[in-house]
Amino acid sequence: MRPFAYVKPADIEAAVRVAATEPGAKFLGGGTNLVDLMREGIERPDTVVDVTGLPLDTVTELPGGGLRVGALVRNSVLAADRRVRARYPVLSQALLAGASAQLRNMATVGGNLLQRTRCPYFYDGAAACNKREPGSGCDALDGFNRGHAILGVSESCIATHPSDMCVALAALDAVVEVRGPDGTRRVPLTDLHRLPGGTPEIETDLARGELVTAVELPPIAAASRYRKVRDRASYAFALVSVAAALQVRDGEITEIRLALGGVAPKPWRAREAERVLLGGPADEAAFRRAAEAELAQATLRPGNAFKAGLATATIAATLRELSTGEDLR
């Protein structure tokens, strides 16, 4: 492994200060993604700022019934939290659908937000990848792209964001709390990640030195679900995933939240589908119409064209389950 400096700051201010002043600094949480990428020579930090000693590992109540989740809460702890399971089942289910038990025991909420794509061309130093090496091209465009994105893509990059947790957070209108050299700011999760455009190497809205400190979950009344479709029963990234929350009153949809994973470079809030559904009937035809409206903007390639149909089917199935209380599995 390439040599690097390792520091473990005693408090948040020190962590932010080090990261803001040391060029090439990276925060280390559970290390489940960063360390892998360092071994592969893709991430090359000069300074690793280990933040796991910071007091950011609790889940606390917010006034009004929401929850504040510290950035260092482990994925397995969050998934098992009684309040999360009761109020935000979509989040607990998404967390448990990700990775393996061992990885979830290590992975942190903050790290999960910032995990990087699993595009195989990103991982292979011999391949062209604009995200890894800006300007080198994208081998995925005409290569193996069965797992790649169909929404929000550019000619520079079609990689997906791999997180399950983030898809649930996108549906839940979560807000990310960020501490930087200039103080604290709050960013809606759906604004945290950027689309690739011509600069796929810039993946988030975070400035140098900014540290994710917490994620806030506003209260939600609607029932919610996470559905992940993948190539094997466990330990695989989503081909398509759906995080949904639905409330129906008198046959009319009064609340709808829909987010998609596995289809876009960021956790994809399906606003167009929501618009089609809100105030309308909760039936199969409406679900499909809404899904198709969302996917009308998809950019399909021979390898990943199936994702449009798969996403439509998965959205319809998830909403059907939520509307009828049927157990999807």
Binding site: G125, D139, G143, D231, L239, F306, A313, L328
Partner: protein, 755 residues
Amino acid sequence: MSTKYAEAAPQAATKYVGRAVDRLDAKAKTTGEARFAAEHPYPDLAHAALVHATVARGRVTAVDTARARAVRGVIDVLTHENAPAMKPAPKPSLFNLSSLVSGTTVNYLATDEVYWNGQPVAVVVAETPEAARYAASLVRPSYEEWPAVVDFAAEEPNAVPQKSNPMRESGADKGDARAALATAPVSVDLRFSTPPQNHNAIEPHATTAVWDGDRLTVHEATQNIAWTRKHLALRFGVPERGVRVLSPYVGGGFGGKGSVWAGTLLAVLAARATGRPVRLALTREGVYHTVGGRTPSTQRVALGADAQGRLSALIHTSVSRTARAGGGPEPVTSASRHLYASPNIHLSDSTVRLDLVPNTFMRAPGEAIGTFALESAMDELSWELGMDPIELRMRNEPERNPVGGQRFAHRMLREAYAVGAERFGWRERDPRAGAMRDGRWLVGMGVATAYHPAWLMAASVTMRLGADGTVVVRCGLQEMGMGAATAQAQIAADEMGVPLESVRMEYGDSDLPPSPGAGGSAQTASVAAGVLAAGAKLKRSVHALARRLPGSPLRGRRLEELTPRDGGLFHAGGGQTYAEILAGAGRDHVEAVVKASMPAFVVRTLRDRRRLMRAASGAQFCEVRVDPDTFEVRVSRWVGVFDVGTVINATTAASQLRGGIVMGIGAALSEQTLIDHRTGRIVNPSLAEYHVPVHADVPRIDVHYLDEPDPTMPLGLLGVGEVGITGAAAAVANAVRHATGKRVLDLPITLDKLL
């Protein structure tokens, strides 16, 4: 010959054979005491890492090693410009069997030529593995690129027929299959494809190499100890007797460790160049780039039948691949020689050569993918006929081998299907497609036949009986985790009539009498033949001693009247323990040596194959659940009933069969090596992206065996290593067909092919 073993068998009471005996090495492995190839400490040990080519074909014009050499702890960077030369790989020849153990023909670091994307072009040796790997990432080769042929699908039309050889026939023509197909009242004609697959043994390939002058010691993860030794002696120009290969523990082989690959050669080379003991443990990615896997294939199966389902035509053709730098043709249509009585049969296998890492053995090479096509086509024919797929198979069960007319030494497919149907509940199957449900899930049930030819090779075995009644069995057999040594200890204990605790196995070492490599599901039977012969010799020697002892109750008794039991030789009226006999004779041990003869093996094999067909077989029953929205397929139930002759160890045999089925489920649903058609580069060289089945993909697997000895095999046993994977992918595909009405011809059956 053909009945010899059956006569020998009843002599020994089967006290251990057939039982579920714990592995002899279970404790060493679970406590971590067992040292694998990359776990042997040496003072002054150095670590090596490979630099892989990033072009598919061409030559290395220069290698910039300056940055790598500047890394602290780097000892040397070896390239074609400075490495000591190895001798070239020998041409493959049946007269020099160790030549067949070359994974590739490349003379690493003695050539600037690049044969595939991923070929090692430099080796870094450093004080730590971390320094070696980091420095390897800094080595910058420059290339002159040449045109490369890497796209199997594009090259497939240019395939040339495989050559047949007496040990492995390729192609067959019986009657006129094309004409019969054209006039058959019912027929199917299907084109299948299967993807390349890579090896993923839990232990990546590893070597620790130590030179002492011209003497070489290699701790190696291999399933071919004796030939690896010969091969290394040849490549490094040193006497074979000075080369020692140690491989007592191997973390899975599956064929991937049956040949000598780059990592082994380059570890030995690096040790020689640096004068240090060198360990080279491949990364997972390194395994993908330097060790071959299963060939992809395209296959055509066409079947013609009358309205009653009796086959009139069977056509099975295949195209698979080898490489410019080696690899062997796969007998893809092999099972079609043996499974169905058809008066007209046409079989042919063709091959293309690509600029990719050469293919190699992978659990049931040929049969694993060939049975997918044949057994899918039989299933499809049953749909055409509206006939139960088991009934269709039974109507075409042959009396003699369909190609060649040999007698079957043992054939119990009817019994396997009958038992399997009962255990599985086949009667509950609604024959209509898409008619069965479990809640929302679509349910499907499928069957397929498993078939793998049985081989018997020749092993040398020394057996030594000590004055304390202990038995030491010495044989350089390969223990890759499947329980090979335990099975032989059970056989030896029964043969000598001693407690299992009194048997000590010495194995996994080239200084021991040589065993054939662990391949072709032949090791247990081959070594058993040696153990039985050594045991018989040993008993004769002991008997001869006893007959000369004054007052021995064995005096005047012929050996045939005696039973080995309770640590000695006994008849109804009495007997003597081995300890008593050896003490009486003043001997501290008696030894029996059985030497294998390779020419005799070849002659016997060729003779047997003309008149006798031996195989392990079975019936695979699979149930799947298919999500009606997303078409995710999950295997929910499995029953496999096998005819594998006598089972030696109930636990380890069942594990072998079950493991084969798990690998078959992977082949059916998820496993495939992705090779970029532009660059020839493997795109998914990791366990995250190459999807082997995980626990959640594997249901409880009910493995049952018929336990009827094959009279032509030692102790009546047939190998269990490979038959489990055969037919497995077809059983899944047939169950999916039943659940959804959709026939997927192209493995793996991912949901996008069903949407």
